[in-house]
Amino acid sequence: MLLSQLLLGLVNGSFYAILSLGLAVIFGLLNVINFSHGAMFMLGAIVTWMGGQYFGINYWAMLILAPLTVGLVGIIIERLFLKHLYHLDHLYGLLLTFGLTLFIEGILRSIYGASGLSYSAPELLSGATDLGFMVLPNYRAWVVFSSLIVCFATWYVIEKTSLGAYLRAGTENPKLVQAFGVNFPLMTTLTYGFGVALAAFSGVLAAPIIQISPLMGSNLIIIVFAVVVIGGMGSIMGSILTGLGLGLIEGLTKVFYPQASNTVVFVIMVIVLLFRPAGLFGREK
């Protein structure tokens, strides 16, 4: 029983990990607190549904196409709005993305309603595997597997390549990085697009298992923020590990004190920040 709950926790953890990774990338490299991350997650799921509904495109293709589409939306948002806010306090980015979230969610709600759309897992993954202690639906296993791959690939690029170094440096002093000859505006645009595409990717993963509705992201976003903070704002590895870890802890809470499973994240956050002011993996200034 406990083991199966932990395994389920890991599934949720991989959603948290990939969502908080996107947030961490955007915050760490652009200094934008991307409140619309939840909305992008939702867009990922809705675009997946649309692909199937209107164009008959299957799940596997959408796994690529949805993040691309949403990434494009992100790029447009960055070009139109965020670009003009980098030199300001990050409150403004937060405010803007908050406004965008209201706007996007409102529009989609007026088109598709609030109660949601249905989507089924692809045939290939629809069965379940008996692990002895529990029956794990194949789809959930796929979620964990694909999330982990995407997470670690992203981590590698950002922490271990010169591309990542440009991005990190650009966060601190974009003008200087340009003065060195790096086309930083283009990089920030692409980074935002990428961060948002990560959210959309987890949206695609979520589409077959949770209710696709315009408001699906807004419940999640606060928790994901908490994950990023616990991990240490902007720390890539921190957000991945914390996401997974919190999934596990949440899984345990669901066994022992289920009502509190949404609140436990905040309890942990308070405790962590009291002892580690910059989060578990954050660098103290």
Binding site: G106, Y119, M134
Partner: protein
Amino acid sequence: ADQPPLKIGFITDMSGLYADIDGQGGLEAMKMAVADFGGSVLGRKIEIISADHQNKAEIAASKAREWIDQDGVSVIFGGTNSGTALATSKVAAEKKRIYINNGAGTSALTNEQCTPYTIHYTYDTIALANGSANGMLDKGYKNWYFLTADYAFGYALEKDASNVVIAGGGKVLGNVKHPLNASDFSSYLLQAQSSKAQVLGLANAGGDTINSVKAANEFGITKTMKLAGLLVFISDVHAIGPKNAQGLLATTAWYWDQNDQSRKFAARFFEKMRRMPGMVQAGDYSSTMTYLNAVKAAGTDDSDKVMAQLRKTKINDMFTKNGYIRKDGTMVHDMYLYEVKAPADVKSPWDYYKLVSTLPGEKAFTIPPDSKCALLNK
């Protein structure tokens, strides 16, 4: 002479979680009723003003107050969300104006917090719990386990249903509480499964219900347990999709495919909204019609007189047969337990339900001895 228009205020969730249950569709249904009625009453043009309370009680209440004080509305219709409904009901009572609610679940509206001016029209949690629990017991499902949303509303649903289960000789094997708007239900469901109960009562609503049904299918729980939704709207079934929803049991006050009258109404509604009406929207239509008829019969829009008229009229329309409004404000009418069809049996979109049993209104709603409403027992 130029008579002032008769104003009807309608406040509900137009943009949030519950907007599909009532919202824009509810407004449309009311407009249809006004049009069907002829557009005017007692020589006064009928006007509907509407607002979105965004699920905030203070917006609902202050809108209601403002409408009464400033716009002179004759009646207020209210939609989903219990908190907003209770707050509006208080305002209406204070200002002696009729308040008709069609979307809120809480039975407190006609029970401990009842007022002489509040009518609870479509359903309440007691009726839903009664409908589901009785229906399941009749079919021999005695052992229950509850998946309960962790807030007052979830508790109320669970408590009402388990009372019926126990009274009917069944057993409640346990429950698991989940936080509101949880996104993942798999681990609660595993706990439910290990209880070995026959029925899983879903004491939750909206997205929570949808997500729990989806996960129950994914984990194969539906193979060993019957899922009984205690508050399921047809829009929820639509969102789950028949593939996942099949076998789910749900109580409702009205289903579009229940008779010719309802089908006709539904077809007209579909024309306008591109989706089938749910019970709340049907209730909006019916209650508007009922109110207007009462105004016409009373010859005035004076609240007390109209209320008296409403209380003494039987309601017979596409929504219900022989319904009536009790002293505590409950509109007593039959409730139906439906089961979601297998995908193969679904002939057209929105064709989801097959009837399991009918529960007469007298048995469905709070019986007078149990009520804490002073109006009912004096």
